[in-house]
């Protein structure tokens, strides 16, 4: 017993005990590190399969034979969570520029637009279309200035497959959010993931035309020089450009009613994967 007490009181024993404590502490942290690595690896694998959302705007213009992707924005977890995106221009195929074709006022040009789900999850989509006039003499590379006093109603973009117009349309017109310049459409069906049947909407436009009435809008400037009065008439729409802008929003199908309310600020009802617009806004 005395030996035991002497051994415990010895400075050597204290040093050995301290050394053992340090070794135990080091080993315990190695175990923790291993556990952490295993845990993160499993979580990462799970996330890859669930979160890829993507949407693409497709266009078939007057001189196009097939639909082509104009703009796309896809999330890719496989590429370290980056967005694969590209933004193109509409109406590039409207005129045959090689032959020097010029815009003919009053002519209907084919302009079909639709939306494709290019992600891994189902989604609901809406489209906002804007029509307006811009300064046609803007320098290249600079954004043309909008001309708000010219009538966007003279840019006739014909909508198709609208619910209630031909009986079978799947595009819902949000009249509360639409104006002469802006049209807001919701697609009632859920879009399946890319590659599956039902991953693309029906077209929401088919033609575009500039109304002949633009030639009746004129400004007459009266000047008097040396007693003679001169009246000069100029066309209000000469040298201006018409612009069509389409913006597509997509949202996940899970918990779609709340997701749409949160992301777009619009109350909708979803029953059996079919979306309808709620009439009462909160």
């Amino acid at each position: 017993m005395k030996r035991m007490k002497r051994f415990l009181k010895s400075p050597k024993t204290t040093v050995i005990a301290f050394g053992l404590a340090v070794i135990l502490l080091l080993f315990s942290s190695i175990g923790g590190t291993r556990a952490a690595l295993t845990y993160f690896s499993e979580t990462y694998a799970s996330r890859v399969q669930m979160s890829n959302i993507g949407v693409t705007l497709l266009e078939k213009s007057h001189n196009d034979k097939e639909f082509k992707a104009v703009s796309k924005r896809d999330y890719s977890d496989a590429s370290n969570g980056t967005w694969s995106e590209s933004t193109g221009a509409l109406l590039e195929g409207m005129l045959d520029k090689k032959s020097g074709e010029e815009l003919t006022i009053g002519k209907k040009y084919k302009e079909e637009l639709k939306v494709q789900n290019t992600g891994d999850i189902k989604q609901y989509v809406r489209v906002s279309i804007y029509k307006y006039w811009v300064d046609g003499k803007a320098e290249e590379g600079k954004e043309a200035e909008k001309i708000p006093n010219l009538d966007p109603g003279l840019i006739e973009l014909n909508l198709v497959n609208i619910a209630g117009q031909d009986g079978s349309g799947k595009w819902l017109l949000d009249e509360d959010a639409s104006t002469k310049e802006r049209t807001v459409l919701y697609y009632s069906d859920v879009l399946e993931a890319e590659g599956a049947q039902g991953d693309t909407t029906d077209p929401f436009t088919d033609t575009v035309k500039i109304n002949n009435n633009i030639a009746t809008k004129v400004t007459q400037t009266t000047t008097t020089k040396n007693g003679y009065t001169t009246i000069k008439t100029t066309y209000d729409y000469d040298g201006v450009g018409f612009c069509i802008e389409a913006k597509v929003d997509a949202v996940q199908d899970h918990n779609a009613e709340d997701a749409i309310w949160s992301a777009w600020g619009r109350r909708v009802t979803v029953e059996n994967e079919t979306l309808s617009l709620s009439t009462v806004q909160e």
Binding site: S51, I53, G54, V55, L57, E59, V70, S71, K72, R73, D74, Y75, E85, A89, L90, L91, M94, L95, L103, T104, I105, G106, K107, K108, G119, I121, Q123, Y130, K209, A215, T216, K217, V218, T219, Q220, T221, T222, T223, T224, K225, N226, T234, Y237, D238, G239, V240, G241, F242, C243, I244, E245, A246, V248, D249, A250, V251, Q252, N255, A259, S262
Partner: protein, 176 residues
């Protein structure tokens, strides 16, 4: 002291729990946009050429090179003598009389193009110098931009509404 500790413990627990609320409200969304358009070209500049010989006025209307296509009509006035219109074209089908007294040019006058001649011939002019009177032959002409149907085909000249109303904004340019 004990109450304060309990309050702080609940506050800490609340902060830990609500830190997960943010992720619950996040939804998967994405968007794309595109725009495009073309520039409108309107407007035309035309001039009339008149030559007078053998009691006949030779009228021709010319369009500037950068003008848009137009339709043309013309009418003559003479205060002293009777006159007649003559279409010298081979088939006599370029200038057609309308019920309103105007002569309508049947073809589209493209930018840089011109009409064929329209002759205004003064009739029964006295040869005796004593009986001759001073007179003017005034020619008025008008143009209107060519309009197109939905297929891009020009609307024929006969179907153009020459009396359509313009939506005019009037501006005073001042006195020089």
């Amino acid at each position: 002291m004990k109450k304060k500790q309990v309050f702080l413990a609940f506050l800490a627990a609340g902060l830990v729990l609500t830190s997960s609320v943010g992720s619950a409200w996040a939804y998967f969304t994405t968007y794309v946009e595109a725009r495009g358009g073309e520039v409108i070209s309107l407007g035309d500049e035309t001039t009339i050429t008149e030559e007078f010989s053998e009691w006949t006025k030779h009228i021709r209307i010319t369009s500037d090179a950068d003008s848009e296509p137009v339709y043309v009509r013309a009418k003559a006035f003479c205060n002293a003598y009777e006159f007649e219109y003559i279409d010298p074209s081979e088939r006599k089908d370029k200038w057609t009389p309308g019920a309103d007294g105007y002569y309508y040019y049947s073809d589209i006058v493209e930018g840089g193009g011109e009409t064929t001649e329209l002759l205004v011939h003064i009739k029964d002019v006295p040869t005796d110098e004593v009986d001759q009177k001073d007179f003017n032959v005034i020619v008025v002409y008008e143009t209107t931009p060519v309009q197109y149907d939905e297929n891009g085909d020009p609307i024929p000249a006969a179907e153009i509404d020459w009396n359509g109303k313009l939506d005019i904004t009037r501006v005073e340019g001042g006195v020089e």
